[in-house]
């Protein structure tokens, strides 16, 4: 009996061995450009149903639905049905795509989309069919990935994401022209320089005993706050991904600046919620916050909220809308002091400050590799990237177009940001899978440093060495996260 069991076990083990041995694995092979693009050739599929994932604002404002209707109407002869994917805007294609639950067309930022591209989850697009002549090559490069020895582009850039400051004109102090315009250029100092903003925030906070804010924004938002590090010489990845430059020389100056800023904003801003809270504070009747730093497309929400506040205050719908539009001003992020000290008073604004570098990204439409209707999906991407439709989107959602000609036509914020991009002041977040590993450690760093100057009883980041140490730790955390991601 025992011998029999033993024999059976032996046989099973042998079978397992042979089975594992015969599992010779074959890779994917290699393909030419023509082969890769073959799926896009020909008429679009009849009766296709494509699920489009757009950002929350496009869904909430109803813009997406209008676009879908217009698209469906244009391709009515093929009976194409483009529908709202109706998923969370950050849904993970890597998880849902292979099983067929992901969207067909998706609108996300370049770090996400290119992560999918590296994993082979989105399709390289036939650039010759897309209208990319007016998109700067630096922007297109964010979507370039070498595949099978070819330089392929994986998505159609639509909107620039970068940092702007939005403030409420009516909350400016009455005497700002005398008191808060040292260089007499007609721009209030508190939105021109960080030193001015710091001083003003402090004043507002003290005079309202903490119930009001000058600047109100999330202190843990990695995307916006990394700009302070980048402005003083930090970078994300160097030549290789082993070279993580977030602790590069000078970064500690930026971190110290951030720490000072945190001190005046207070502990209520140490929360991701502060980002959404800003939309309320900036627009309520009390005027809890004077300004916030965020992406330009928030303006649409701010205007809506402020108009609603005015309506509640007794204005008519039209008056309120006009007043809200008039009252909210978007400007470039404030200039930073060269020596990193925002607590001092500036004497020579031009000489002592410089325009900051901010983190930026490009949002684009990509096509899932798991779509059953590549041609219809491509048709949709082409449709939304038409000049007129892009303008429609930018106007409806306050997005800053990736196209130069459109940015010029729209003027205002769009033009201002395009200029910043052109002059290299926008640091494009790296379009690679490894970018995903920087966010959590960065968030922890900002949490840590902001807490240090707000609710911590015995602050530790009071010296340059301590700040440098925090940055070194950040880099080593990112390294560990990358290492574990690669082992597993």
């Amino acid at each position: 009996m025992k011998a029999k069991t033993f024999g059976l076990c032996l046989m099973a083990a042998l079978a397992a061995l042979t089975l594992t041995a015969c599992g010779e694995r074959t890779g994917g092979g290699t393909f030419t450009y023509e082969e890769l693009m073959a799926k896009f050739e020909g008429d679009i599929e009849e009766n296709a149903v494509i699920r489009v994932l757009d950002n929350q604002m496009a869904v909430e404002t109803g813009h997406l639905q209008e676009v879908l209707d217009a698209f469906n109407e244009r391709y009515a002869e093929y009976n194409v049905q483009a529908v709202d994917a109706n998923m969370d805007q950050y849904v993970d294609l890597e998880q849902n795509g292979p099983d067929g639950y992901g969207p067909d067309v998706l609108y996300q930022a370049n770090d996400m989309l290119m992560r999918y591209a590296e994993g082979g989850h989105i399709l390289p697009l036939p650039t010759e069919e897309l209208d990319i002549a007016e998109i700067p090559s630096s922007v297109m490069d964010a979507y370039k990935l070498e595949t099978y020895g070819l330089d392929l582009y994986y998505a159609m850039p639509v909107a620039q994401q970068s940092t702007v400051l939005t403030y409420r004109k009516d909350l400016l102090p009455e005497n700002w022209e005398e008191e808060w315009d040292d260089n007499e250029n007609g721009v209030p100092d508190m939105v021109e320089t960080m030193n001015g903003l710091y001083a003003y925030s402090k004043q507002v906070k003290e005079s309202s005993s903490g119930s009001k804010y000058g600047l109100y924004m999330s202190l843990v938002d990695q995307y916006f706050n990394t700009g302070y590090l980048l402005s003083y010489g930090a970078y994300v990845f160097g030549e290789t991904h082993d070279d993580i430059g977030l602790a590069a020389d000078g970064a500690e100056v930026g971190l110290n600046l951030f720490r000072d800023l945190a001190g005046v904003l207070g502990s209520t801003c140490i929360s991701q919620n502060a980002t959404t809270q800003a939309a309320t504070y900036l627009t309520n009747s009390a005027g809890t916050a004077f300004c916030t730093i965020g992406t330009p497309d928030w303006l649409t929400t701010f205007r809506e909220n402020l108009a609603a506040t005015y309506v509640r205050g007794g204005m008519s719908e039209a008056e309120a809308t006009a007043a809200a539009e008039e009252n909210l001003v978007v400007v470039a992020p404030p200039r930073l002091p060269t020596d990193g000290d925002i607590t001092k008073e500036l004497t020579d604004i031009e000489g002592e400050t410089f325009a900051p570098t901010t983190m930026g990204g490009v949002n684009a439409f990509g096509i899932s590799a798991y779509t059953k209707y590549p041609k219809a999906s491509l048709a949709f991407v082409k449709f939304v990237s038409e000049y007129e439709n892009l303008r429609w989107r930018c106007e409806a959602l306050g997005a800053v177009p990736a196209r130069l000609d459109l940015a010029e036509e729209l003027g205002g914020v769009s033009e201002m940001l395009s200029e910043r991009v052109a002059s290299g002041l926008v640091y494009m977040m790296p379009s690679t899978r490894d970018t995903q590993y920087i966010w959590d450690p960065l968030s922890s760093l900002f949490n840590d440093v902001a807490t240090d100057n707000t609710t911590r009883n015995t602050p530790i980041y009071t010296t340059e060495e301590a700040l440098k140490g925090a940055l070194e730790k950040l880099v080593s955390d990112i390294r560990s996260a990358m290492a574990v991601g690669n082992i597993s």
Binding site: V59, E60, G62, A85, N86, M87, D88, V91, Q95, N96, D99, Y101, T268, S271, N273, T276, Q277, A279, T280, Y281, N284, T288
Partner: protein, 279 residues
């Protein structure tokens, strides 16, 4: 003879009432706070004046049910109700059947079944989340409310021990008499066991209803499409600046359960205790 005034007893009574008042306050206050927040005119947390809103309005409730392109609350609510009601029926049936069987019959693998249940119970539910997700994709049950129903029903089948404890208390002489009369086991179950176990059935149904009603983890994992979301997933997806929407949405989730619990509290107490007590 008149009842004498006894200071010690009076002191004890006062102490008991004091404690009860304190406990009631601790339990009631957060609930009241949440309810009043739902009526906050401004809509977000920081506009509270101290603990409570400055101005009250019904605006939140209007938004909750009309702004469906932001949050499709009526739909989430319908989904939740559907999942909870169907799983409640199926789970109750399964649990009662299993508990009755294990309590009444003696068969070879009975004890090993019970031990296996205990060991399986040690595994935290969502330790298997990844695996469940994979299995559900293979069964094409992602985004499908029936998938959730299946999971809740099978999950609740594991929790039969309380009900089994209750059935153990029904004396076997009743069964023997019925069996002698020639009734089949199935008939005995229908005509004798079920009527005797009303409190237990109510208890089982209630717990089987509440789990899917209030669960967050499973639906957040298995429902990708917003139109299939349940209230728990939907409310948690809200921005924090929508605190009063959260509070208002929560009210409609919590109130039915509270009413059910209060109305059925007798069964709840009896049922839970009957299952737990070891004779």
């Amino acid at each position: 003879m008149k009842a004498k005034f006894r200071p010690a007893r009076a002191f004890k009574t006062a102490l008991v009432y004091l404690l009860v008042l304190l406990v009631s306050f601790i339990f009631a206050f957060p609930c009241i706070w949440l309810v009043l927040s739902a009526f906050n005119a401004e809509g977000d947390l920081l506009t509270l004046d101290g603990f409570f809103p400055e101005t009250y309005s019904l605006e939140t409730f209007r938004r909750l049910f009309t702004e469906t392109n932001k949050y499709d609350y009526p739909r989430w609510f319908g989904n939740t109700l559907f999942v909870a009601a169907v799983s409640c029926v199926i789970s109750t049936f399964l649990v009662i059947a299993v508990a009755y069987t294990i309590s009444r019959y003696r068969f070879k693998s009975r004890k090993s079944l019970m031990k296996a249940t205990l060991i399986l119970g040690i595994f935290p539910n969502f330790m298997n989340m990844t695996a469940l997700y994979v299995i559900m994709t293979q069964l094409h049950l992602i985004n499908n409310l029936w998938g959730l129903i299946l999971l809740y029903s099978s999950g609740s089948a594991m929790g039969f021990l309380v009900q089994k404890g209750f059935f153990d208390t029904i004396p076997s002489t009743i069964y023997d008499a019925a069996t002698l009369d020639g009734a089949s086991d199935f008939r005995v179950f229908i005509s004798i066991t079920l009527p005797l176990s009303k409190p237990m059935i109510v208890y089982t149904a209630l717990t089987a209803f509440v789990w899917p009603w209030a669960d967050f983890m499973l639906p957040s994992m298995l429902l990708v499409d917003k139109s299939s979301w349940t209230v728990a997933v939907g409310l948690n997806s809200l921005d924090d600046s929508e605190f009063s929407i959260f509070a208002a949405g929560s009210m409609f989730v919590a109130v039915p359960i509270i009413v059910l619990y209060v109305a059925l509290s007798k069964y709840l107490i009896e049922g839970g205790a009957a299952g737990a007590v070891k004779e």
